[in-house]
């Protein structure tokens, strides 16, 4: 199952390390990463594959949310289908 993780918040040291460390623990493969600063906010988009993940999607989402709260940033994950439904005919 492919999904996109988005990270939005104030830039600081260690965001990518923290997120990728957590994904590694959950056996989630990162297929692509891009990041930019939008309106002064750090914005990162990660394309990930959850086929071998050790937790169910909802639990992965909860872990990412909790990690974001720890870092003071917003981390969310969404199945790729919602983006394809909205932006591809």
């Amino acid at each position: 199952m492919k999904a996109f993780i988005t990270v939005v918040g104030k830039d600081r040291v260690g965001i990518i390390a923290a997120v990728s460390g957590l994904l590694s623990q959950l056996n989630i493969n990162i297929e692509d990463i891009s990041q930019t600063i939008m309106q002064g906010m750090f914005t990162m988009v990660m394309a990930v594959e959850l086929g071998q993940a050790t937790l169910a999607f909802e639990d992965v989402a909860a872990k990412l949310l909790a990690e974001g709260e720890k870092l003071g940033i917003e981390i969310s994950i969404r199945h790729k289908d919602i983006f394809e439904a909205m932006h591809r005919i």
Partner: protein, 450 residues
């Protein structure tokens, strides 16, 4: 591959502009629950609802988590209870069973305490309609609707007369809770079988055993999109709304298909709705004001709303394989911050709202009027709205709250999605003789289409 701009656009729509799935509503047929014993019927109704829709909330939450989009309400709509209870006459027992089943499975509302009497009513239907005040005052989640007119049948003015009294009685019996019962009762012309929205959802006679209908929302998304073209002409305005409605509806289609699969139910329809909530920034009124009106209720409001309604339908229709329900912009006063503000300032009147209902989805919705409004005035308001629906071959409805003990300028506050409504001025001139005549208003000439 989806690019980052598209990903962030979706995220912004959900996070900042209130894009949500307003409701996943499961339609459940209760025909197999009919018996001539009231207790048996009620027990079967309870069992059918809890088994058919037992997983609805869990599945809704799972879908919400996977796609990262709020699903605000999970609801059930059942076969009109006037038919299910006809053999036993145990209508109140069925209402109680519906309410207990709804509480047990954790849904927000259950609709279908309904009678369809557009041409005439049976003894059972009259009994059921007369039980509505008690049913709504004794239950928490049950919603009720009565269809009193259609383009094919005309207007059943006997039922119109009755409903004025019923609405008053519901408001009185729930007077300790701001007459909230009236917010759960809607009177329709041209009611539809697959509406996912409350209070008017019921599971039509021609539907399958279990059906998933989804209502989307997103007035905030449309308004934000329009902010980007402050100088665009109205053709551009329409194009922007169409594109936005397409995107919103595609999410509804995805959620409806996923939910149908997970719940082993038929995919029914996506309702191309633009439904506001009381949250700031989630208002249909603000869209009309973004188009260039000083405030909703001004001259030009009806034209702007007609444009909006048309563009929402045109944009949404290609995004879903099956479109239905009420489909269009909703204008419930108490549920829309911009409407509340316009009424409070005297900019938006009941008469203007009536005109607006001729060009958009549904009708006079969530409108509080003084508690001493006579039943005949309410009946005549229903008749006016029904005439607009019948003549224009569209659904119209009246959900009006004669707020007990309140007068013009007071507020009723229901909280949650039902919001807060300023009590509006309504004409006190008497239509009593007109209403007392009863009988039927004949179907319009274009109702005879064969």
């Amino acid at each position: 591959m989806i690019d980052n701009r598209e990903i962030l656009e979706t995220i912004n729509m959900i996070r900042d502009y209130h894009l949500d799935i307003r409701t996943i509503t499961m339609g459940v047929s209760l025909y197999d629950c009919i018996s001539d014993n009231a207790d048996t019927t009620a027990a079967r109704v309870y069992d059918k609802i809890t088994s058919a829709a037992g997983d609805l909330v869990r599945v809704g939450e799972r879908i919400s988590s996977i796609y990262g989009i709020p699903i605000v309400n999970k609801r059930v709509a059942v076969t009109p209870i006037s038919a299910i209870g006809a053999a036993s006459g145990g209508y109140l027992k069925i209402a109680s069973a519906m309410d207990r089943a709804a509480a047990n499975i954790g849904i927000d509302f259950i609709g279908g305490y309904t009678a369809l009497v557009q041409k005439g009513a049976t003894a059972g239907e009259n009994q059921m309609i007369n039980s509505i005040p008690e049913a709504l005052s004794q239950t928490k989640k049950v919603c009720s609707s009565v269809n009193i007119a259609s383009t094919r049948a005309g207007i059943n003015m006997d039922a119109v007369r009755t409903m004025g009294k019923i609405i008053k009685e519901v408001a009185y019996l729930t007077r300790d809770n701001q007459s909230i019962g009236a917010a759960k009762l809607v009177v329709f012309a041209n009611a539809v079988d697959d509406n996912p929205f409350m209070a008017g959802a019921f599971h039509g006679a021609g539907e399958g055993d279990r059906v998933i209908n989804v209502g989307v929302s997103g007035p905030g998304v449309v308004k934000t999109a329009l902010e980007k073209i402050p100088l665009g002409d109205l053709a551009e305005v329409s194009e922007v709304i169409k594109k936005t409605a397409f995107k919103i509806t595609r999410v509804g289609q995805l959620v409806a298909q996923t939910a149908s699969k997970m719940l082993n139910a038929n995919f029914g329809i996506v309702d191309l709705s633009l439904a506001p909530t009381p949250a700031i920034g989630d208002s249909v009124a603000y869209i009309l004001e973004e188009m260039g009106l000083e405030q909703v209720g001004s001259t030009g409001t009806t034209a702007a709303l007609a444009l909006l309604n048309d563009a929402v339908k045109k944009g949404g229709i290609m995004a879903s394989s099956h479109v239905g329900g009420l489909s269009g912009a909703f204008i419930p006063v108490s549920e829309d911050a911009g409407m509340i503000d316009a009424v409070s300032k005297g900019s938006l009147t009941l008469e203007k709202l009536e005109a607006m209902t001729a060009v958009c989805s549904v009708g006079l919705d969530m409108i509080a009027v003084p508690g001493d409004t006579s039943p005949e005035v309410i009946s005549a308001l229903i008749a006016d709205e029904a005439a607009i629906g019948v003549v224009n071959s569209k659904t119209t409805a009246v959900r009006v709250i004669p707020a007990y003990g309140k007068s013009v300028g007071d507020f009723v506050d229901f909280g949650g999605l039902l919001g807060r409504a300023p009590v509006m001025k309504i004409s006190t001139l008497s239509p009593a003789k007109f209403i007392s005549r009863g009988g039927r208003v004949a179907a319009p000439i274009h109702g005879n289409k064969n």
